[in-house]
């Protein structure tokens, strides 16, 4: 008997042991593992058994398979604590989850998600709802005019691909408007501009003093940042939007200088007009109001209440006496 006539019997390894070897090998090669590479590194392993185990690991979600040219490569997939314990309701859920996981920090739009898997809208939505409830995925709103993206729960969206979400008054995750945040920012900005306006005079001349009352959006942004009212995501452009909104409320005046827009606190030119001093200014039925009609000033409840409660207007000289016509 010669050595060349011996064929070494390759003992089949225990599946769990083989899984461990394969997973460790894939971890060590993050760029991906191909069949020839595995064969050259582990010649003692049964290739057929390896192939079966690799497919099993892919189906369990521990490995991902992708193509590079004509070669199939296997890649190790890191699972989070939730993912390790996850139980998918059905294959659709699992497939959706995998596609979302592949999208990484950018996320994926629901339409693209549907098309990549090939499922109906309703099935997709049901699966997404289920995954969201299990805290495996989340919906991210990149900004006004952009699509809502789905990504894994634990991943932070990539700021490079997330457009301006509309400002600190828009909730990052839901995309909903938060009125309190917007109002607070506006009130604080106005208070700062008013403080600047009321600063004591430094006798530098009227017009020079007025120039001091103007502030740039960058200066206002710096003040808000120092007071920790805004976070790093709030930009100077957002502060400019706040100031523009105050200009539209006529609380602030804007001037465009050579260095960009500047803002100043402004006192009201007219506190109230005649129309806003009477109940007719606030009445929703003013267009239907006629003398001796159903809606009339004689029967007006707003007027009756207003007569009893309003403060006296500016004192006048006595009204015009009746005139005797000269014939």
């Amino acid at each position: 008997m010669t050595s060349s006539s011996f064929v070494v019997k390759k003992e089949k390894l225990d599946p769990s042991e083989l899984d461990k070897i394969l997973l460790d090998f894939c971890k060590a090669h993050p760029e991906g593992v191909s069949g020839p590479l595995l064969k050259s590194s582990h010649p003692d392993l049964d290739l057929k058994q390896c192939t079966i185990r690799l497919q099993k690991l892919v189906s369990e979600g521990k490995l991902a398979i992708f193509k590079k040219g004509a070669t199939n490569l296997f890649k190790y997939k890191e699972l989070s604590a939730a993912q390790k314990n996850v139980k998918f309701e059905n294959e659709i859920e699992k497939a959706i989850y995998d596609v979302i996981a592949d999208s990484g920090k950018i996320g994926i739009w629901i339409k693209d998600l549907r098309e990549s898997i090939g499922v109906a809208q309703q099935q997709c939505i049901t699966a997404l709802k289920s995954l969201k409830a299990k805290e495996l995925v989340k919906e991210v709103f990149p900004g006004t005019g952009h699509k809502r993206m789905w990504m894994l729960y634990d991943i932070e969206p990539d700021q490079q691909y997330i457009a301006d979400k509309g400002g600190p008054w828009v909730n990052e995750s839901t995309g909903e408007f938060e009125p309190d945040v917007g109002e607070k920012l506006m009130n604080l900005t106005l208070a700062y501009l008013k403080k600047q306006f009321n600063r004591p005079s430094d006798n530098s001349g009227l017009f020079a003093e007025r120039k001091r009352h103007y502030l740039t959006p960058a200066e206002i942004h710096k003040f808000l940042e120092e007071k920790k009212i805004i976070d790093a995501k709030t930009t100077v452009e957002h502060v400019e939007t706040v100031c523009d909104n105050l200009v539209f409320e006529r609380s602030v005046v804007k001037k465009v200088s050579s260095n960009g827009p500047v803002y100043r606190f402004a006192k009201a030119m007219m506190e109230s007009s005649g129309f806003s001093s009477v109940p007719c200014g606030f009445c929703p039925l003013t267009e239907e109001c006629r003398v001796d009609a159903v809606v009339s000033p004689q029967s007006c409840e707003y007027y009756s209440k207003w007569k009893e409660t309003a403060e006296t207007a500016d004192m006048l000289v006595e009204p015009l006496k009746s005139v005797r016509p000269l014939v």
């Binding site: 539209f248 007009s273 207007a313 000269l326």
Partner: protein, 522 residues
């Protein structure tokens, strides 16, 4: 608006002149440029004889409410036109008086009031009635004092002679100062001592004077602009602006160029011994120019400035309109001003620019459109290659300020009418309590006399007074006074708004062209 104006004018004219004059005025309002024959035909429906009609027309003319022009078709026929602005001046007259009181003094106001009450009157008669009025109010003034006030008013052109200047001097400033001979002054004093109700015929009876409502209106507008400057800047700025506007008006009367150099305003400030130090005038002029109250003509540091009447009116009109929009809420004002700023704008742009939720923007824009503050346009973008294919259809919004001003004007007229009607109701409700109050004064006098005769009956007599006018009556009386003042104040404010908006619309609306025919002065 026509219906509202008709009802409003009827109420105002009926209150002041009586029902007949009011109906004739409305007839002219409905049919402008009517001649006498048209009016006679209408008089049958008004149930007026031709004599009564003539008297009514004379009353309207007496009080500057009637404009008489020569007919285009036949220059021998005269046509009549109602001067609507003067009706508004009737409501605004307390404001004019207050303006004059602050500027000149109480006696000036009384002289103006008496002249306005009579429409046109001779100088001696006006002085006589002014002194009689002051006597009733327990103030005293001599004939000379009142004559001096009259002269000052004539110099300032608050009072003008009714006879026209020579045609060659049209637009010139020449003015014949009023004067009274010592004999006439003596006769007036004598009539006052005798407590006569009317003067005998005096030599100056044919020379009539009347109130220059145009000048008063101009002063009132300037006052409003000054108040606006005071609110938005400070009182010194208001003073400088007042000086500037007075100078510009004076130049305009002379027909001179309206640009003013800084040092001209400074010298005026020095001459008037203003509180404002003249070295600050330049600073204030620059600030006023920056805020749009005046316009800088050249780029020099100590430059030349001018005042654009239309721009000032626009500024005031804009403030009034924004106050009206503010009744819908602060956020609505924000949207209104944003839409005006951006011009033709879609709701998508508003979502991006406004710190408001989408639903809030949608709701408020819809409300602004419904109320007529914002106009809505459907803009269809058509593919040039295929005309039938419309692939973009956003709704765009725009603020057309002139239309909005007209809408607010209409609502203000309605509000003024409502205030007038409510005021009439309050007056009729408080008639009883006012009569009771008058009777109380008589009763108190009788009680005083009674106490003087029989001091021991003081308690019982006082008891009678207390029982007659109880605490509740006192409360009701003060309540009705307060309501009256409140409603009068509000009517003045509304009339001021109407004055500004009407002037603004006249200044900007190209379609409005008054018929340029020679106005006949009789």
């Amino acid at each position: 608006m026509i219906y509202t104006k008709k009802v409003l004018y009827r109420i105002i004219l009926k209150e002041v002149f009586g029902a007949q004059v009011a109906e004739v005025a409305l007839c002219l309002f409905n049919n402008p440029y009517s001649h006498f024959k048209n009016l006679i035909e209408n008089a049958s429906t008004l149930k007026l004889s031709s004599k009564e009609l003539s008297q009514c027309l004379a009353t309207l003319y007496q009080h500057q409410l009637l404009i008489i022009v020569k007919s285009e078709r036949n220059p021998e026929i005269l046509e009549f036109l109602l001067d609507e602005e003067k009706i508004l001046h009737i409501v605004l007259f307390p404001k004019f008086l207050r303006l004059l009181d602050r500027k000149s003094g109480k006696v000036h106001g009384v002289v103006l009031q008496e002249l306005f009450t009579r429409g046109r009157d001779s100088m001696s008669s006006a002085i006589f009635h002014a002194i009689s009025y002051l006597k009733v109010g327990e103030s005293h003034a001599s004939v000379q004092e009142v004559l001096d006030c009259f002269t000052e008013l004539a110099v300032e052109k608050y009072i003008i002679p009714v006879e026209p200047f020579d045609s060659s001097e049209q637009g010139a400033i020449s003015l014949s100062l009023p004067s009274l001979s010592p004999e006439t002054q003596q006769k007036i004093a004598q009539a006052l001592e005798e407590e006569a109700t009317e003067l005998p015929e005096l030599p100056d009876r044919k020379k009539l004077w009347t109130v220059n409502l145009k000048k008063l209106g101009q002063d009132l507008r300037n006052d409003l602009v000054k108040d606006a400057a005071q609110s938005s800047i400070d009182s010194n700025a208001a003073e400088v602006l007042g000086l500037f506007l007075n100078l510009v008006d004076a130049l305009a009367e002379k027909g001179k160029f309206l640009n003013l150099k800084n040092d001209e305003v400074v010298s005026q400030a020095q001459r008037r011994h203003c509180v404002t130090k003249s070295k600050f005038v330049d600073g204030y002029l620059q600030i006023l120019a920056e805020d749009g109250f005046i316009q800088k003509v050249d780029g020099a540091v100590e430059g030349t400035y001018t005042s654009d009447h239309t721009k000032i009116l626009e500024k005031l009109a804009r403030a009034i309109v924004e106050c009206a929009v503010l009744t819908l809420g602060k956020h609505s004002l924000r949207l209104f001003c944003a839409i005006e700023e951006y011009g033709l704008v879609s709701q998508e742009t508003l979502y991006a620019k406004m710190i408001l939720s989408k639903s809030d923007v949608n709701r408020r824009v819809a409300q602004l459109v419904r109320k007529g503050f914002v106009a809505q346009y459907d803009y269809r973008k058509i593919n040039a290659a295929s005309v039938k294919k419309i692939y973009w259809n956003p709704t765009l919004h725009k603020v057309e300020f002139t239309k909005v001003a007209r809408t607010v004007l209409q609502r203000t007229y309605q509000a003024l009418l409502n205030a007038k009607i409510v005021s009439q109701d309050v007056s009729s409700e408080s008639e009883e309590i006012l009569k009771k109050k008058d009777k109380l004064e008589l009763l108190e006098e009788e009680v005083k006399a009674g106490i003087a005769e029989n001091p021991e009956n003081e308690e019982s007599l006082q008891e009678i007074v207390r029982n007659y006018f109880t605490e509740e009556d006192e409360k009701e009386y003060h309540g009705s006074l307060k309501k009256d003042l409140l409603l009068n104040g509000v009517q003045l404010k509304l009339a001021l708004d109407i004055l500004i908006l009407e002037d603004f619309l006249k200044a900007v609306t190209v379609q409005f062209q008054p018929r340029t025919r020679s106005v006949l002065r009789l």
